[in-house]
Amino acid sequence: MAQQKIISRPSLGAFMNKYGIVVIFIGLCVILSIVSPAFLSIRNITNVIRQVSIIGIVSMGVTFCIITTGIDLSSGSMIALISVVVASMSQNAVSDSQPISIVMPILFAILISLALGAILGTINGSLTAFGKIPPFIATLGMMTAAKGAAALYTQGRPVGNLKDAFTFIGTGSFIGIPIPIWIYIVMAVLSHILLSKTKFGRHVFAIGGNEQAARICGINVEKTLVKVYAYAGFLTAVSAIMLTARTSAGNPTYGLAYELDAIASTVIGGTSLSGGIGSIPFCVIGALIIGVLNNGMDLLGVNAYWQQIVKGFIIVIAVLIDARKQKRK
């Protein structure tokens, strides 16, 4: 056979294709540190990462779902439900005004809440994998039901008076770095290893890239999907616990539209909505971009109406970049 031309010369275009979002992130930081001197302080940087951690952790679960060509719309409502559940188990004393209030060691409260997240995720996954319901619909159902369950659980009221040991998760720090950041780092490392270094992760990519080929390769597609949604539910529970601890209350109104922010971070991080492509480090960058943007606009006192418009633009531009990449193939 004749000599074949091999394309491997690294070009600026190829670099931008892969790392464009990192360049945008760095550019954004540079601009903000010029216009707002407060931006680059260590304090503000920890501040941003801590704020990002909650959506950031949810978006890692969403990344798993989107890689399998799925989606998770239920994370916001699940945060509301899990936040009231964990709060009702972490109070200083049993409250009379709430329908359900149990005092127990916070470790149990946390484990039960994490399990609840994983179970709700398993329901999402089972509906999708075995029920053959499109994930958009299955998680939409969960979103609606969980919202209702959260309101029902507390009769619409917030649950406060939480133990200090519990709120420490959201407000404390360890060697100078806030606990939520530690949790974010641990979850990111865990998710990254899971996605890129394990059999499960490869199966996730395989299913998203070509489900039929995955079946031929002996992959149990249904079981893998259930695991994906269960893991997403678990991460959502982690977020919910952090949010509850940080605000010293559980509230059925929490998590409103968080799923959309999480999807936005995921997409800005380059995860393709057509499946098979995505990574955790880029998902973190995506979340940081949204976080830095929010922070920067607050620092600068940008008008509330404009903030939304700017955020909308960023999301659309990120997807446009992705669409152009797809087209070039």
Partner: protein
């Protein structure tokens, strides 16, 4: 397939029939039925209003209240009002989701000759002839009351203020902010330097407040459209190691949670007597149906809550 469909139908009816029986219990004569079309069961402030309605219901044996939850969706609320009218209620008590979307409600009630009482959120002036009673407080009053206290507390130095608003376009958020601005505009030494949308949410309010504190803008006061955002703000201030006297934080609603924090970072809140609005609203319906005279405007005043008088509200 048919079997599965039948299964679904059976399950659905098992779910729905008990509720229907429960909801449709009362049709006897002599009992006054009030349709209470509530805006949202999930909105905490509203739950106190709903408690007021329930309290009235419990007090009178000849009253039956049918309460609906519009989930903050004006279209859902309209459907629910129609359903209540079809059930033959004697009066409607409504907390409008959207004050500008009430026209069909006015028309339906007039058509059926049903008394209409509006609570908590006031319709525009052009509609003031279309309902029987309004019970509530003027949102702007809360903003005025709150800002007056903050402005006085800031004297003699004055300083910079940030306003954390509720959802953009929401009546209470707009009017409370408007009230704040009217007061602060009167003071030459007070400047509003920041405003942002905290969406009534503690976490969101906390995030914005953190960013403001980091920005080095040197805010002397953060005035919040509700207590949840104010609590978020004070948690942010605590996180940044600001002392209570470094910054004035003000909320509105006087929720039980906020009262816990009053004096511990939160400086002032405003009590809107939601319970009274609900109770009075139901009472107005009752009286109207019985043909008794009722004042058209039932104003329930806001009350300023500070560390000095907080025990009255616990």
């Amino acid at each position: 397939m048919i079997k599965r469909m039948a299964m679904v139908l059976v399950v659905l009816s098992m779910l729905i029939i008990p509720m229907a029986v429960f909801a449709n219990g009362q049709q006897d004569d002599g009992v006054i039925t009030i349709g209470a079309a509530m805006s949202s069961f999930a909105d905490k402030g509203q739950t106190y209003l709903q408690d007021g309605v329930r309290a009235f219901d419990a007090e009178y044996d000849d009253v039956e209240v049918l309460m609906t939850d519009a989930k903050d969706d004006p279209a859902v609320q309209l459907n629910q009002v129609e359903t209540l009218l079809t059930k033959g209620v004697d009066a409607i008590l409504i907390v409008p989701v959207d004050i500008s979307a009430l026209k069909p409600v006015f028309a339906k009630c007039k058509e059926d000759g049903v008394k209409l009482v509006i609570a908590n959120r006031m319709p525009a002036e052009e509609f003031h002839d279309d309902f029987d009673v309004y019970t509530g407080s003027e949102s702007i009053q809360a903003g005025l009351l709150q800002a007056e206290w903050v402005a006085e507390a800031m004297q003699p130095e004055g300083g910079k203020v940030g306003i954390l608003m509720g959802p953009l376009g929401h009546e209470a958020a707009m009017m409370r902010t408007e009230g704040n601005k009217q007061i602060f505009d009167k003071y030459d030494n007070i400047e509003i330097v920041m405003d942002a949308e905290g969406k009534w949410d503690r976490a969101k309010g906390m995030q914005i407040a953190e960013n403001w504190i980091q920005s080095g803008a040197g805010l002397n006061a953060i005035v919040c459209n509700n207590d949840e955002m104010a609590i978020g703000t004070l948690l942010a201030a605590e996180g940044a190691n600001l002392a209570d006297e470094d910054i004035i934080i003000a909320g509105i609603d006087a929720t039980p949670d906020a009262l816990e924090f009053l004096g511990e970072g939160l400086d002032v809140t405003v009590f809107q007597n939601m319970n009274a609005q609900g109770y009075n609203g139901a009472a107005a319906c009752y009286k109207l149906v019985k043909g008794e005279m009722v004042e058209k405007w039932d104003w329930i005043p806001f009350e300023l809550v500070t560390t000095e008088n907080m025990d009255e509200y616990k």
